[in-house]
Subunit: 138 residues, 2 copies
DNA sequence: AAAGCCATGCAACCGATTTGCAAAGTTATG
DNA sequence: CATAACTTTGCAAATCGGTTGCATGGCTTT
């Protein structure tokens, strides 16, 4: 993605476009699946993991990315769609492949509504499906 | 719960009823919400955490309890219903209260089905709702 | 009673995440 | 332009939940 577009994304979410952030955002934009901090680290020649960690935190707080708990013990991160506010209604299902270990954002699959018992107030939700992805099921 | 019933439960799942296991099972049966290994440890005067850990693992393998990943970073455990085989169809929704930090098994609320994209094969799933529980929402 | 197996307890390790702190870079102010 | 104030970055080290190795102890089997 060209720098100007990256800067625009950051600007739209009030995050200052440092060199590091542009690199990380660009890398995230290139992924076709959600990636972990360690995955991200491996894609760079030489970066400090803690800096990446803090960059991801900043992005997450500003809703540039969302984090996914796929149950593997390491959080995954993926770009939010434009204008996403990470509200329950915006949320999509995630799929973790038990074979290739990739975690997919099924952005077109919204989490179905569940009636909660009386007086339970819903703020967030997480739905992860696990099994075999399209590449691994055949 | 009386010892005989506890022994029956263990026996039904082919787990030998040691003193430790009976204590742990009884404690789990007393909980109204799912608890973590650390929670469990605190409820005893003096036990080895690793023994509790292994006891929980044994129970989980034999489907006496199920583990819940509520996204807090510490796994929670709760008794399975009788005859549970932990198949996708048996699964219920869990609710984590962001205020009191308790995690509820909503056993009457089954996880709704989601159509997956072509060729994705579903094996397991996890659905966690977060917000305020009945005691904290008022 | 001896041999074998399983359960328990303690020490120590592991990976992911998080914090502390100082150095480097940026921005605001005089 | 120079300095002060603030933010970001890099490195070290701590934390935390989960896990493994190994020796001891108890029960079962022969």
């Amino acid at each position: 993605m060209n720098d100007q577009r990256l800067i625009t994304i950051l600007h739209a979410r009030s995050v200052k476009p440092t060199a590091m952030r542009l690199l990380v955002l660009d890398m995230l934009a290139q992924q076709e699946t959600a990636i972990s901090l360690s995955d991200l680290e491996e894609q760079f020649d030489k970066v400090d993991k803690v800096t990446l960690y803090r960059t991801l935190k900043t992005f997450e707080q500003h809703k540039i990315i969302h984090s996914i708990d796929d149950g593997t013990g390491s959080a995954k991160y993926a770009l939010c769609s434009e204008g996403c506010e990470c509200n329950p209604g915006d949320l999509h299902v995630h799929f973790h492949c038990q074979l290739c270990k990739r975690t997919f954002c099924l952005t077109d699959y919204t989490i179905p509504a569940v009636n909660l018992p009386q007086k339970f107030v819903l703020k967030e939700m997480n739905m992860v499906m696990k099994g075999l992805c399209e590449d691994c099921s055949t």
